[in-house]
Amino acid sequence: MNTLVLMKMVPDIVEELEVGPDGKSLDLESLRLIVSERDDHALEQALLLKERRGGSVTTMAIESPDIDEILFTALAKGSDRAVKMVGAEPPLTTSEAAALLARVLPDVPNLMPVDLILTGCQAIDDLDGLLAPILAEQLRIPYLGVVTGVDAETGQGRATVFKEYAGGVRGEYAVSLPAVLGIQAAEKPPRYVPVAKVRSTMKSRTIDTVPAPPRDETSQLEILQMTKPEATGRAEMLEGSPEEVASKVADVLSARGLV
């Protein structure tokens, strides 16, 4: 079971986000990047599959600030290989990234074919689409998203994939391989790797690089502006100590016959 994991960096929303001087994009000064949360789950799912079924895991990303640490961390967690696509001019929208990846994958030495391509089911900056389905279409292979479990016996040519629906219901699907899966949650939370292990991995391992193919597609969307969302409404704020506030709430509940 050979798996390719695709990861990317997104703005860290723990930080305050500001609009940049052009009024259409994020202010880079206040920006910090973090690995997309669902991609971390995709990596974890790939590692779990490898532990369960053998095979190899390759983690790949498009060059961006701080991506090296993510790739070395993937190696430290158990990914067999890390590959970085370099030379593509930023910024890339999700669909632009998918187009480049679809074209570069056959050129990565000793990579294809893989049985599974896993990536997060969506990211917070997927304005013009989600990576997993777009990539699947471009590679002409099957796709399923919102995945919370995967298993596959080697050599069967298909995987059993679980998709999450509302209310805790899951759908079980049989998916022909190779396929792209958009991971919502790995079967276990992403594992921890000690800092010392990442640091020693940085010294002992390397990240393969592959040049980006020339861009032939640009996103069709025209961004007119970016703003902080207007509050469509605002709650009536209750002030005071916890006891004072609690009393006010009890008044409200009482008035509505709820207590």
């Binding site: 929303i13 994020l26 777009i134 509302a166 079980e172 949650a185 509050a231 509940l253 709820l258």
Partner: protein, 327 residues
């Protein structure tokens, strides 16, 4: 004459989703602005009776095929691609829930048409479409000029009030044949229900819902205490469920349940769109959060800036006192 405005009528386990009706209201506005017609597209197998509820649209295109019986992105995409290529609508509005959220991406890639994702509003401006899209966990809004025709738009819950589209009118129904493979590469096998024995949060009249602000599993006891005093139960947002602190059946939001209790108390929940989707119709929403800028305060009726670990016990006491109960 501009092409039509299409709405993908989303249904799951025999029910049309609430979001479908919101999209019909939005779609009607756009159709009026573009001087064209509103059509609903219903893909399924044996689901034709649902078409009767779609009277807010001028007509309903139905496709019936066994491979469309359960949500299947591949089959949906093939069917829609065939329809779009044949009929050339101006735009296709797709509901963004777990059932259909990836359909826009598949279609956009297959037909090489534009996709505007995470839309919270769409308007006709100078004969074209402009969408306002929510990015970065709801922290930024991007206004885009939607290019091309057809264009696909993924629509978030909350853009319009769906009730306006729940009309008694019988729509014009057109059955369309689409050639689809009988054996797809993605095959639905079965549903797996969640473990039985837990409460059904959609039936509760009061929910005390906990988010990251509850900090530890132990602290959930504070919410349970308040829930008991109120005669309700505890529910939670995704991060709490992900930690395994409460079972999946307690999850409110996009991947959980949609609830409409009389009282929804959001304790330490930031109010990301995925969560708000599941609770915005509650009669009374009270939110507690340490961050005065938390998005939850835009959907709540009453807000308290404070630490849930302090406010929850105070609330429990006040409620008990009001009810004449002594702990």
């Amino acid at each position: 004459m501009a092409g039509n405005v299409w709405v993908l009528a989303e249904h799951w386990r025999g029910r049309l989703s609430d979001l479908t009706f919101e999209l019909l209201v939005l779609g009607r506005e756009l159709a009026v602005g573009l001087e064209s017609r509103l059509e609903a597209v219903l893909l399924g197998h044996g689901a034709k009776d649902l078409a009767g509820s779609l009277g807010a649209a001028d007509s309903v295109l139905t496709v019936d095929h066994p491979s469309l019986a359960e949500p299947n992105p591949e089959a949906y995409c093939l069917a829609l691609a065939a329809l779009v290529e044949e009929r050339k609508p101006r735009s296709l509005l797709v509901p963004l829930t777990n059932v259909s959220a990836d359909v826009p991406s598949l279609l956009s890639a297959r037909l090489r048409i534009s996709l505007s994702n995470f839309c919270r509003d769409v308007r006709v401006v100078n004969g074209g479409l402009q969408a306002r899209c929510l990015l970065y966990g709801g922290k930024m809004e991007t206004t885009v000029a939607v290019p091309g025709s057809p264009a696909v738009l993924g629509i978030l819950p909350g853009s319009r009030a769906g009730s306006e589209a729940r009309v008694d009118r019988a729509p014009l129904i057109e059955e369309v044949e689409v050639a689809l493979p009988s054996e797809g590469r993605v095959r639905f096998e079965k549903y797996i229900e969640p473990a039985a024995g837990d409460v059904d949060i959609t039936q509760q009249h009061a929910l005390v819902s906990v988010g990251r602000g509850i900090q530890t599993r132990d602290n959930i006891a504070l919410a349970e205490e308040l829930a008991e005093a109120l005669g309700g139960v505890v529910s939670a947002s995704r991060p709490v469920i992900d930690q395994g602190w409460l079972p999946l059946t307690r999850q409110v939001g996009k991947s959980g349940a949609t609830v409409k209790p009389k009282l929804y108390l959001a304790a330490g929940i930031s109010g990301a769109p995925e969560h708000v989707e599941g609770m915005k119709s509650a009669d009374l929403i009270i939110a507690i959060n340490t961050d005065p800028q938390a998005p939850i305060f835009t959907v709540a009726h009453y807000g308290i800036v404070g630490d849930v670990l302090d406010v929850l016990p105070a609330l429990s006491e006040a409620v008990r006192a009001r009810k004449g109960i002594h702990a």
